[in-house]
Symmetry: C2
Subunit: 311 residues, 2 copies
């Protein structure tokens, strides 16, 4: 998708470079999006074909001026990425993230990669890479005070934010566990042929509610998906909804256990996953503020670019 505005208005290039996805925006002096590129050339692909070449091909496709600065967040900064951008340790002020960006050496243009965050806690070591930029982008909308921020996905992140500082965070393997369990365990029979989870699925909501009430029964509730299909005629759609609700409900119960009661909850998400989490949070009695994840990461990169290049 390429807009018609002249690339000569361009101020910088913003890139969200994940494990399996690549997104690039050409941003104008007035902060408008002049051009956008999306592809599947994430870290995994680019580690084979070359990060510089992937970036160059997308810049050429939108005729970006050669001397534009480029700010990147995400897995391009991992050890297996382009240039390792390390981690800021928690507690970490979001405003400290841009200055910790690492410059890509050996190229003429000013290309920088933002760092991730690390929680060096022996009982709960944790890392994130990419989500810190979403947080930075959401910071203005969140304002000061205490916040509990949920960023769902393959590895869902829940962040305890206080006055613009990340006090701590927890990664829940929800999305990856759902896939591994649905594909590689006895539950695969029960969930085979299930469609997408309907927004008003009662089995999903009931599973979330049960996990918030008694999270210790998580792996027993999972087996009940199998037993339910064996002796109680549980449909594959409801089986899938029940497994998903169990994992998401367990995640919500865990995140709430680490935050002060009544801390306002913000959901940074997009699309069908965002809607599913809105349903789950409602079943858990929560009414989150919702911020679009795509907008948040772009705003985070904009905040970083402004801090680094006084744009």
């Amino acid at each position: 998708m390429t807009h018609t505005a002249s690339p000569t208005d361009a101020a910088y290039v913003a890139v969200d470079w994940g494990t399996s996805s690549f997104r690039l925006w050409l941003i104008g002096r007035d902060e408008t999006v002049l051009a956008e590129r999306r592809s599947g050339e994430g870290m995994t692909t680019a580690a084979r074909t070359g990060f510089a070449a992937v970036l160059q091909s997308h810049l050429a496709a939108i005729s970006a001026p050669e001397d534009l600065p480029v700010l990147i967040c995400g897995m391009a900064g991992a050890k297996q990425g382009w240039v390792e951008a390390g981690y800021l340790d928690t507690p970490a002020a979001l405003s400290a993230i841009p200055a910790a960006a690492v410059r890509v050496p050996g190229v003429a243009a000013d290309i920088r990669i933002l760092p991730g965050l690390a929680q060096r806690d022996s009982a709960a070591p944790d890392v994130m890479r990419g989500e810190e930029t979403q947080l930075l982008g959401a910071a203005a909308e969140l304002g000061n005070g205490d916040h509990l921020v949920c960023m769902p996905g393959t590895h869902s992140k829940w962040v305890r934010l206080s006055a613009g500082k990340v006090e701590g965070f927890s990664t829940f393997m929800t999305g990856e566990l759902f896939d591994a369990i649905a594909k590689n365990t006895i539950l695969s029979h029960a969930v085979a042929d299930a469609g997408a989870i309907a927004p008003d699925n009662a089995a999903f909501r009931a599973a979330v509610t049960r996990m918030v009430a008694n999270p210790a029964l998580a792996t027993s509730q999972m087996f009940s998906v199998r037993a339910g299909s064996l002796i109680a005629g549980l449909s594959s759609d409801d089986a899938k909804a029940r497994l998903s609700g169990t994992l998401i409900g367990l995640e919500i119960a865990g995140a709430l256990s680490l935050a002060a009661k009544d801390t306002p909850v913000t959901l940074i998400a997009s699309g069908s996953l965002g809607m599913l989490y809105e349903q789950a949070l409602a079943a858990a009695g929560l009414a989150p503020t919702v911020i679009d994840a795509d907008t948040a990461v772009r705003h985070g990169l904009a905040a970083g670019a402004k801090a680094l290049w006084s744009l």
Copy 2:
């Protein structure tokens, strides 16, 4: 393994026929084991090669008299097994199990398969097949009163027993989840090349203790296995122990949440898995009575044979 006692002393044949294992004992009039057979011809194999043929080959190998009655428990009674033996619904008296055995039709010998147990509860539907016979075998040793009985495995069972009656039970997918997660998620890198979990592994005990204290953090503790290996030098042995302790600790927390405080706990298990669960239960502050699983199932089949054939 074949003993030298004459098969003419034989009273009946006992068979524990699981998903992937087959065990047969020739039992004498004085209840001694005259001969024993073990093989990998579980339900999965026998469903292809024929249940009658598998049983016959083992009976021939120990020269068992042709007219001996045979009592079978386990997956041979599943829908995909030899003859479906159905379920007894909870609450179920253990003493009612033998009379519910189903006779294999079309054969001269008196061959019967014991039923499983089903819990028809819409919030926690559950089934077991084989473990009910271990319970029956442990019943004399347990005596009356309330008991919480743990039978660990691929699908661990925890049974709430009161005066010889199964009030309810819960299956935790612990063993299967461990395999699926260790093989098919990002944790596979962290646990690759790990050896067996040492009996005094501190990472295992710490993970169990954390789950008993806050089970809601289960899937976050799983991700901490990855993060720990990334930023805190967690060894593969400790990574594996931490994943195992998290899943077993979650199971223990769940089972305890359903029983009255201070209900005595019995562990029916064998071998290295039994030792691992003893460690885990100790870390959770429990000192279980331990009953050998092999002996329990044989005693259960003996109790069934006595009830059915007045031996």
